[in-house]
């Protein structure tokens, strides 16, 4: 029997208003994300995967449907409660890192640690991602890979149940991308976070426990990956 899903989406729809036109992005998504698993959602550009991630992370609301986290339907939450959900349970990693340029690596992580009750101290979080020697570097003094590791440290320092990574290797070369992915896999193994990664690079999906393919706003396929590959074994 499958364990209880961490997140359960039922008939989730999302459309955007572009002037007078309504553009449907998600057209009825049913999806379950399980605790402690790495789920990779892949699909082409414009397939709706970022929107799906945003809804799971509580930064966006569905136009219709239900998003269950434990016994709460995120779709019904008020802004304040949704913020509370993100604050306590979700860590985000973005394609372009979204670090604050005027803060150092340590301070960027502290942006996260200051709003939760029992965080991993910024220095420790940065040590976990191998940046213990770059604590006081500003983003402009770091490579893309290093910046993404700071972003990961910022996400994990909150001890989130869910780590949501939006194209975490999208802005990196393959070599650096692999370092970042190894790190995520190691954190999943060591800390047991549930990780959702969205990517348009299909080989990355081979790292996941569960692979979700999305196409034109619908789930095309969900498969449990029986033959997970290691980071060294994949290339894109």
């Amino acid at each position: 029997m499958n364990p209880t899903p961490e997140i359960k989406l039922q008939s989730v729809k999302k459309s955007y208003q572009m002037g007078e036109i309504t553009v449907p992005v998600l057209k009825g998504i049913d999806l379950e994300i399980y605790p402690g698993e790495i789920t990779v959602i892949c699909g082409a550009s414009g397939s709706g995967k970022s929107t799906l991630l945003n809804i799971v992370g509580g930064v966006d609301r569905p136009s219709a449907g239900e998003v269950w986290f434990e016994k709460t339907d995120l779709a019904q939450l008020k802004d304040q409660q949704l913020t509370e959900y993100r604050r306590s349970h979700v860590g985000f990693v973005f394609q372009f890192y979204n670090l604050i340029s005027t803060l150092t690596a340590r301070e960027n992580v502290q942006v996260s640690t200051e709003i939760v009750s029992d965080p991993i101290p910024a220095e420790e979080a940065l040590a976990l991602v191998g940046l213990e020697d770059q604590l006081d570097y500003f983003p402009s003094q770091m490579s893309g890979g290093q910046q993404q590791r700071v972003a990961i440290a910022r996400a994990l320092a909150k001890r989130p149940r869910l780590m949501l990574c939006d194209e975490p290797t999208g802005a990196l070369d393959a070599q650096t991308g692999k370092i970042v992915l190894s790190l995520l896999i190691r954190l999943n193994q060591e800390l047991g976070n549930t990780i959702v990664i969205i990517t348009h690079a299909t080989p990355i999906a081979q790292l996941a426990h569960r692979i979700v393919s999305i196409s034109s706003g619908r789930i095309a396929k969900v498969e449990v990956n029986q033959k997970r590959l290691s980071v060294e074994e994949i290339s894109w």
């Binding site: 985000f92 372009f96 604050i100 803060l103 942006v111 200051e114 709003i115 909150k158």
Partner: protein, 791 residues
């Protein structure tokens, strides 16, 4: 320190140039507020203390002569609580160092020092001794101007006799806080003196035993309505003794001068800061909207990380808070400096025992509240829009501004005739409408301040020119103590270098029209007078052979017009009433001058060509001038002599020259508005157009050529704004004129072509000066990096 405050400090440091420009505008605004209100309080406080110290009278009654026995009757009038009799006469003082005779006023004081009304405050020496009768206490500034030492002797012409007095002390009095010779609005310290002598001795030399000619008193407290009635009763009661004038404190010259100054300060203390802080709020709004837009992804990320909206708004609000606090802090400091300088200036205009520049915590607190309020308003409006976006929306870059045509593009031939840079500029202006409008408003307000400054300067010049080039055309005016016969003209015409003389006859009295009445002096001039030329707008007024010519303000206040007849009762003579026809009503620039034909006036009073004042034209060598004054000094019946060129010079020095400093500060402050607005708009624009600038640099454009695009944009915005500021400034000036006018006089404030062109000229200068900084930023832009930026 937590992380977000650290981010705040670093962000502030990074945008320090723009912030300093905004803070400068706030500093000037709060500086004006604190400076002017503090000066207002300083003056109000000094005046009030001075009035208490001297026991300033509530009213003055000038009478020809009344016996002291009448005082009891006056005291019985309801509403009058205290009364004091004095003998006050004009005098001529003989100062050996001065070529011209100097006029002044003799005022009697009790022989023993007591707590009298309009008391003096001794500055040097001590009060009258009981030893000598001929002792005099002289006004401090007069003594200083002529370096008159205590113990020296001074010759006064009193009641036609030369009397020598021993100078025993110098003093000041609140009654003469602003001291000028009668009929003049400005004078130099040595030009007019006050001479306090013992009352007993005054009775003797003026032949006023048991009589006086000046009553001062206090009204009973609390019954304001009764004041007018009480004065009217005094007037009626003493009518037969010849009441020249009854003046309550509101109309007393010195009080009027300081009061209008204090009132003007209060008005400026309100409207100037509103302009500056309003501009600062608008600029801050533009800046914070831009900053929030620029930090949109950061805001989105913070939201995604779980920050509440209120935490993010609080973070951005702190920008406004810091700007407001810094603005108020430096503004208060500037305000303290401004009030210090203004007190120094007022100390030269008015005479106080002390005028301290104090710090008023309540004003500074209010300045902080206002400054922070305006800053927060500007910030909140700018930030709210972005912060209230959903995190996913905030994390997306704002969609690019629409690239539809601006309306000018409809005229293809014109549009295509424009250089592509001008097209960029025009498109930018129309697409960022809010920013353009804020720039225009700031320029309009800045320009209005410049126009007010230039307008005031022009008005002062204009008033002086009007008075001395068109109305008063004599070289000397000799005022006589009493009316003399016309033979005095022949005497005066023989004085050294005198080429022409003209008589003037003054008659003081009361106009009655229905229940209304007003003390007025009628000036009788020759039909073809060449030295007093009344003006009606731009035309010379021809004085009709009969009837009187009155200014429109008097006609309006009485509700009379040409053809009506008013009753006139002269102060002197047999109290006969005369019916005078209003021959014509003219537009008078200032004052309430009523004119009549000299012969008509003499005929009316049944007098034989009486003369109150003689106007002279003279062509003199320096030797003749010295001789002229030597001869004049011998005439005991002279009340005062004024040299018109000197009067004109005094006015210029007293008002126009002092105003130059004020004008400089006003233009400087307006410059701060232009600078703040231009730097803010341009630096934001540079940030936004980094890629465009980089692309142009790659194409081989020089930084100056790129800077020219910004210069054009700023010129268009600021010249348009300055043009709109012209009518605004004009309205402000008219508002000030209304604020300055009172029952007795008005100050016409106007602008001329020079002030309008000057305002635009200054606006252009400010744009070019601000452009130096803008260009420096363009030169320093790391355009290589800008090319690599993600869109």
């Amino acid at each position: 320190m937590r992380v977000l405050p650290r981010k705040l400090l670093r962000d502030l440091w990074l945008s320090r140039e723009i912030l300093m420009a905004i803070i400068a505008v706030i500093v000037v605004g709060t500086g004006c507020f604190v400076g002017m209100l503090s000066t207002y309080n300083n003056l109000e406080r000094a005046r009030s203390n001075y009035y208490s110290l001297c026991r300033m009278a509530d009213f003055w009654v000038n009478v020809k002569k009344i016996p002291l026995t009448e005082l009891d009757r006056v005291l019985k009038i309801p509403g009058i609580s205290e009364l004091q009799a004095r003998i006050v006469f004009p005098t001529i003082v003989n100062i050996p160092q001065s070529t011209s005779p100097i006029s002044g006023q003799v005022i009697s004081l009790p022989s023993k020092q007591s707590s009298i009304l309009n008391n003096i405050v001794l500055q040097r020496g001590s009060y009258f001794s009981q030893v000598k009768r001929e002792e005099v206490i002289i006004s401090e500034r007069f003594a200083q101007a002529w370096k008159i030492a205590l113990g020296s002797s001074l010759e006064l012409i009193v009641n036609g006799q030369r009397k020598k007095f021993l100078v025993i002390a110098t003093a000041i009095s609140s009654e003469y806080m602003y001291l000028t010779p009668p009929g003049k609005i400005a004078s130099l310290p040595g030009e007019y003196g006050l001479f306090y002598i013992k009352h007993d001795y005054a009775e003797e030399i003026f032949d006023f035993s048991g009589a006086c000619n000046n009553l001062i008193g206090l009204f009973s407290r609390g019954n304001k309505e009764a004041k007018g009635a009480a004065l009217q009763k005094i007037d009626q009661l003493l009518h037969s003794y010849g009441v020249f004038d009854t003046i309550d404190r509101e109309r007393q010259f010195s009080h009027l001068a300081i009061t209008s100054e204090i009132r003007g300060l209060k008005t400026s203390a309100i409207f100037l800061p509103i302009i500056f802080l309003g501009v600062a709020a608008l600029i801050l709004n533009v800046l914070m909207t831009r900053m929030a837009e620029q930090q949109r992804t950061i805001i989105g990320t913070l939201k995604a990380l779980g920050y509440f909206d209120r935490e993010i708004i609080r973070h951005f609000i702190q920008y406004g808070l810091i700007i407001g606090v810094l603005g108020a802090l430096f503004g208060s400091l500037l305000g303290y400096i401004i009030s210090g300088l203004m007190c120094q200036l007022y100390d030269t205009l008015f005479e106080f025992p002390r005028l301290d520049n104090l710090i008023y915590p309540q004003i500074i607190t209010l300045a902080f509240v206002i400054s922070i309020f305006f800053s927060l308003m500007g910030t909140l409006r700018g930030v709210r829009k972005v912060v209230l976006l959903s995190p996913s929306e905030a994390m997306r870059q704002a969609s690019p501004t629409t690239s539809k045509e601006v309306f000018l593009e409809k005229w293809k031939t014109i549009w295509q005739g424009f250089d592509f840079r001008l097209q960029m500029v025009l498109r930018g202006l129309f697409r960022h409408k809010t920013r353009t409008i804020v720039g225009i408003i700031a320029a309009a307000l800045g320009a209005s301040i410049v126009l007010v400054g230039l307008g005031l300067n022009h008005s002062f010049q204009n008033i002086i020119d009007f008075q001395f080039k068109r109305v008063t055309l004599s070289d000397y005016n000799i005022t006589l103590k009493d009316r003399a016969s016309r033979s005095v003209l022949d005497e005066v015409s023989t004085l050294a270098g005198v080429t022409k003389v003209e008589p003037v006859l003054y008659i003081s009295g009361t106009f009655h029209w229905g229940h209304k009445q007003k003390k007025i002096s009628i000036t009788g001039i020759l039909p073809q007078a060449t030295m007093t030329v009344p003006q009606n707008g731009d035309r010379r007024v021809i004085i009709p052979n009969s009837g009187i010519t009155i200014p429109s303000r008097l006609a309006d206040s009485f509700g009379i017009q040409a053809g009506d007849q008013v009753i006139f009762i002269p102060v002197e003579g047999h109290k006969k009433s005369y019916r005078l026809s209003i021959a014509q009503v003219t537009q008078s620039m200032f004052g309430l001058n009523v004119y009549a034909n000299y012969y008509y006036l003499n005929q009316l009073l049944k007098e034989e060509h009486s003369v109150s004042k003689i106007q002279l034209k003279a062509q003199q060598t320096p030797l003749q001038r010295r001789n002229f004054y030597r001869q004049i000094k011998k005439y005991a019946q002279i009340q005062s002599v004024s040299e018109i060129a000197q009067d004109k010079k005094n006015l210029r020095e007293q008002f126009v020259a002092k105003f130059d400093g004020v004008l400089f500060v006003m233009i400087l402050f307006a410059g701060v508005i232009f600078f703040g607005s231009i730097l803010n708009a341009s630096l934001i624009l540079i940030l936004e157009r980094q890629r465009e600038i980089a692309t142009l640099r790659v194409l081989g454009y020089h930084p100056q050529e790129i800077g020219a695009i910004f210069l054009w944009e700023n010129l268009i915005i600021n010249i348009s704004g300055a043009i709109l500021g012209l009518p605004l400034g004009y309205l402000l000036l008219q508002g000030m004129a209304i604020d300055l006018q009172n029952d007795s006089f008005s100050i016409p404030l106007s602008t001329n072509l020079f002030s309008w062109i000057g305002t635009i000229f200054f606006a252009i200068i400010f744009v070019f000066l601000a452009h130096v900084f803008v260009q420096r930023n363009i030169n320093r832009l790391p355009w290589g990096d800008a090319l690599k930026m993600k869109e």
